[in-house]
Amino acid sequence: MPDPARARTLRDAVGLGLAVGLYGVAFGAAADAAGLDVWQALVLSAVMFTGASQFALVGVLGAGGSALAAVGSALLLGTRNTVYGVRLVPLLRPRGPLRRAGTAHWVIDETTALSLAAPDRALAGLAFWVGGATLYLTWNATTVVGALGAAALGGTARAALDAVVPAAFLALLWPRLGRGFPEPAVQRRVALGGAVVALALTPFVPPGVQVVAAVVAVALAGRPRRAVTS
């Protein structure tokens, strides 16, 4: 018997996995621009496997930042995956330490969104594993393509790549400022605050530290639930 809900879940999972996975080209190129070799880029995609943290790590290292500042910014961006995990437990019910350890590796923005959007618990699991597998394979393959491709670039193409990296961060930030996210006006205020703090600190702190320091802008979000509108 045909099952339209199952077919739709599979199509969404594979489609999103492929579309976002292609973005790994930009990550591979950004890693190369920051001076990482192809193995370091690949280890990040294979082991860290959470895009914003990966971009942050290579972004801070590329700006001349210390390893500590790079790790700090990656970990701060990784905290949201902890919250995703809590939301996924009732849907995926990973049993036993091995199953939990395997599931944890693919807890990211996209797999969480796919699982939460699925119509029931069985399809949530399907969306998680199919979306996760598609994205993981595509993301790692395109990371290598991006890193090797960028390494072969000359002067003008290098300038192009230098312009792509900040645009990649803007593209990661953009959806958070729109209607798809709760409290977009507060998100925009916090983003503006983060940008101002980072720019103001740039002349005075070692490279990369201003990125971690920008986390203080979260204070602009105000109290839980009772959002202050200024």
Binding site: L36, M48, S66, A67, L75, T156, A163, A167, T202, A217
Partner: protein
């Protein structure tokens, strides 16, 4: 081991442990209103900081070059709902154009 490898490995393991923690700790630890609030807004602050650091700085200096043109083009493309890959290609083209024009 180089500082880069150390950063890659430590951050990779750390990010994995953050994921694992979500599946392992009691929900009530993470679902405190203040924790949820901070976690919801950390990406906006950090990603915006990374946009300006990557787009407008070089070491300790604030620098305006082709990267700013790339950011402007990217913002326009994002506002028009262009797919991510197209946004990046257009930003790269703008950066390359400024590089060629300014020598």
């Amino acid at each position: 081991m180089s500082a880069t490898w150390t950063a890659v490995l430590v951050a990779s393991v750390g990010c994995y442990l953050l994921k694992l923690a979500g599946l392992s700790v009691p929900a009530s630890w993470v679902e405190q209103p203040w924790v949820a609030r901070v976690v919801d807004f950390v990406p906006a602050a950090l990603l915006a900081a990374l946009v300006v650091v990557q787009g407008l700085t070089s070491g300790d200096d604030v620098v305006v070059d082709g990267r700013l043109a790339g950011l402007a083009v990217a913002a326009l493309a994002l506002a028009m709902r262009a797919p991510f890959i197209l946004v990046l290609v257009l930003a790269g083209a703008a950066g390359a154009l400024v590089h060629v024009l300014t020598g």
